[in-house]
Amino acid sequence: MADEIKFQKRVDNGEYIEAKDEMPEEYRRHLIRQISQHAHSEVIGMQPEGNWITRAPSLRAKQILLAKIQDEGGHGLYLYSATETLGISRDELIKQLHSGKAKYSNIFNYPALNWADIGAIGWLVDGAAIVNQVSLQRTSYGPYARAMVRICKEESFHQRQGYEIMAKMMSGTKEQKEMAQDAMNRWWWPALMMFGPHDTNSPHSSNAVKWKIKRETNDELRQKFIDKTIPQAELIGLKVPDNNVKWNAKTNHYEIGEINWDEFHKVINGHGPCNKQRMNHHKKYHEEGIWVREAAEAYSKKKLERESLIQA
């Protein structure tokens, strides 16, 4: 108990907690859950976009998409390495993903049906992720905060490339405009759900706020995203698929309609359009890579043995 009070004091003073510092077990568990979920999301998020590399409409678009997906892989690695500082192995993390114990962001259980979706994913999905990640740069666990700083530097390219795709389509033919609007219609609500349940209804929030793992609540972050994004949509002529959107001049915020939480829970519990496909794909390539890891280890072991023979 005394230790917990001491810990809370450090957090309240704005100190960062480092890997070897004492921390409540529940703080450690919360971080492992949150950071690994974040890491898994980056890696699973490579799938809907990877689908479009060979079908990108130009060489420029293809190079950009490749670089973006490589970044997502890198972000996954930064985050896995931050999670490992908490004393859990990469092997265990992957096992938790495969068994379903660890989740990843719900948004990646939706399919990327056409090129406009690549624009919508970059602009809306990465846009929502950035709002969350900017806030997490000040999270109380040092290795997580440092990974976030690195990620934020790279994410704004992702969002801008997505918005560029949408803007280009909105200045194109009638069909292109319809495609962009259709992607907007399908991604808007799932993007809003990325921030998680309302504050009154969020099971993991209270400790996370007390320990400064979360610096802002789900609803605060969602509102930031809404306020930033609606004017961007209007600027290029996209309609937000919500008849209840209105500007409130008193609060200086947009108000929106009701989010369909039934859909959110349905998808999170495994009944989204792509849950199975995403997980099977990850398992397949993870298992097919086992022999590569084994060969690399056998090679380095042999090399060490040879070197010690020469020395002897």
Binding site: K20, L77, D91, P143, R146, I290, R293, A296, E297, K303
Partner: protein, 96 residues
């Protein structure tokens, strides 16, 4: 299936410009030095963040314990004569 070790962990240090110190960037997994260097480059320097990289097996690093910080760092607090401001300079002395 046995334990999938996912290879060893290596810590990565990057020098962003010649003349500057090497700063810890994070870690990667690799089976040997060559793979560690390659993975460090791909993971941490995709935007010209570095001119030089060090990779070190994590198991080779010894870190101080937070609990020892008093013992390790407090003794320096009472040696203020290690700071230049401790000394009284004669009035009018310049360039010192």
């Amino acid at each position: 299936m046995g334990k999938d070790t996912q290879l060893n962990i290596w810590e990565v240090f990057i020098q962003s410009k010649s003349g500057l110190p090497y700063i810890h960037a994070g870690s990667i997994h690799a089976s040997d030095e060559k793979m560690a260097m390659q993975n460090a480059r791909d993971t941490y320097t995709r935007r010209g963040e570095g001119t030089s990289i060090w990779v070190v097996p994590s198991s080779c690093i010894t870190a101080s314990n937070p609990g020892d910080s008093e013992m390790l760092f407090d003794p320096s607090n009472d040696k203020i004569y290690r700071h230049p401001t401790f000394y009284v300079m004669p009035e009018g002395a310049t360039n010192i």
